[in-house]
Amino acid sequence: MTETLNAGSSRAMLEAVSRFVIERTDMLTDADLAIGDGDHGIGMRRGFEAALSALETQSVDTPESAFKVVGTAILSNTGGAAGAVFGTLFRAGSKAFAGKDAIDGDGFAAFLESGLEAVIKRGGVTEGQKTMIDAIGPAARAARGNVGKGLSAVVASAAEASLSGVEATRDMIATTGKARSLGERSLGHPDPGAISISLILKAMQEFTATA
């Protein structure tokens, strides 16, 4: 159980997240083939491969810088909608750690909240439009609700809530992104970006539960 993440363990967790997502490239490809253009898997792989090498080569002396390095790597290397929104999530979210040496449960909830706010502003969407924020929103609220229980419980609750968020996107009709033109035909399929959020949180949950 990890109840605080300093710079080093932030970096270690983000490396674990990167590897976890990279290993699930094909699953994300297939999700995007169903309702998008089929590039979400390779896009996330490009972004997190760049994140891994940035974490290796760049100086990361605070949790904020670790998350920002990841966000910048994603932003520059993923491209497409995912690059913008996942890059923004990590870059804007990292500001929640400003001036802090370590991430605790409250810090993690604040990360999701400020990330969510920034993505909403960038993408011009609200929850219910079948995007990755339909996984972040529930995750952020669950995290906030469990803040008193410590980091690992906060992350676990966020991960769990994001999964329900993914499930909920099945019943949403996409009104933004490439899936929009499917209209009702997007029903039944989960949103690829939301799945990515759930994978990221799942990897964080595993890391904080065991490390």
Binding site: L33, D37, D39, I42, A84, K178, S181
Partner: protein
């Protein structure tokens, strides 16, 4: 269904290798930014309003094949079907800027919009003027009251031609923007697909169509269209596309138009010419005059088969910029 058969090296390296080949193909007329997938004309005149185009790769010659005289001054290139990242756009914009500001011209997709907007914010921090015009010509993508939600498809080509001409002649970014906005307000397109394309790195077709099916209104990355139908004769396909396009603007008796038929990839020009025959019959019946026709391969979706039809309603100003000479790898005229 077997993997699409393509002559490639490492599928993960298609974009950098393609860009190397593209720079070489321009024989000195453009150069690539160091370490970034952005292409810049070598001979942008001083004091010119700059035109930066861009978007995902995989649609060659669009966009990066349209950099040249009276066309784009530079292109920011993304990965296959993925918008370029803000840093590529930012550096490309700085490289094309000649002090008169930069017009961003690209297709209206969530990814492009967000990445270009982020670059815009960075450039504005640097004091560089940026204006943005998004191509929204696909009538299949949203109803007329929501044109801002429409995708950009082959209307891109006429938009680059018009904005390229205007940015070569007009002295202010706002004037160039005005002309480009007028153009997009007058352009309407719609496509049809008979077979899917694939992304080289995944090797997977982006959708599936039965042997006897076509999809009307298909998007340029395989986004769903408005109707999946049984194969039908060329004339019936042309009738359906034209009905949607004509009633949308609407185009009216006495209008003068430019007409572009774009090959999505694997369709024969013979098919497009046969479709053109019917389109001209329809336009004649409607009393709409064609000033200029372009039929060819400009916005592709990898090996997708199908085509799209684009009409642009002209006035004297648009006609002037359309008729200007232009030279680029993907589109030239005398």
């Amino acid at each position: 269904m077997a993997n699409p058969k393509k002559i490639l090296n490492d599928p993960k390296k298609v974009v950098p290798e393609m860009i190397e080949g593209l720079v070489a193909a321009n024989d000195g007329r453009l150069y690539k930014l160091d370490n970034l997938p952005a292409l810049i004309r070598t001979d942008i005149p001083d004091g010119k309003v700059a035109l930066l185009i861009g978007g995902g790769s995989g649609h060659e010659p669009l966009f990066h094949g349209f950099v040249g005289k009276n066309m784009g001054d530079g292109a920011a290139c993304g990965q296959v079907f993925a918008a370029p990242s803000p840093d590529v756009i930012y550096e490309a914009a700085k490289a094309v800027n000649r002090g008169k500001g930069v017009l961003f011209l690209y297709g209206n997709y969530a990814g492009d919009n967000m990445n270009f907007d982020m670059a815009t914010e960075m450039l504005e921090d640097d004091g560089i003027d940026v204006r943005t015009v998004r191509v929204t010509d696909d009538v299949a993508a949203a109803p007329p009251e929501r044109t801002h939600d429409r995708r950009g498809i082959a209307g891109d080509i006429y938009m680059i031609k018009i904005a390229g001409g205007a940015s070569a002649e007009l002295d202010s970014l706002y004037e160039v923007e005005r002309v480009a906005r007028k153009a997009i307000a007058n352009i309407r397109s719609m496509g049809v697909a008979v077979a899917a394309g694939s992304i080289p790195e995944t090797g997977k077709l982006t959708f599936e169509l039965a042997e006897d099916e076509i999809e009307i209104g298909m998007g340029a990355h395989g986004e769903a269209g408005i109707a999946r139908q049984k194969m039908k004769p060329a004339d019936a396909v042309a009738d359906e596309l034209m009905e949607k396009i004509l009633t949308d603007l609407p185009f009216r008796k006495g209008d003068e138009v430019a007409l572009l038929i774009n090959n999505l990839g694997a369709t024969t020009m013979m098919e497009m010419l046969i479709v053109n025959r019917r389109i001209r019959q329809i336009l004649e019946r409607e009393g709409i005059k064609v000033h200029r026709t372009d039929i060819g391969t400009w916005l592709t979706v990898q090996e997708m088969a199908g085509f799209s039809v684009t009409l642009m309603k002209l006035d004297d100003e648009l006609k002037h910029y359309l008729d200007m000479p232009a030279e680029s790898l993907g589109y030239s005229r005398m």
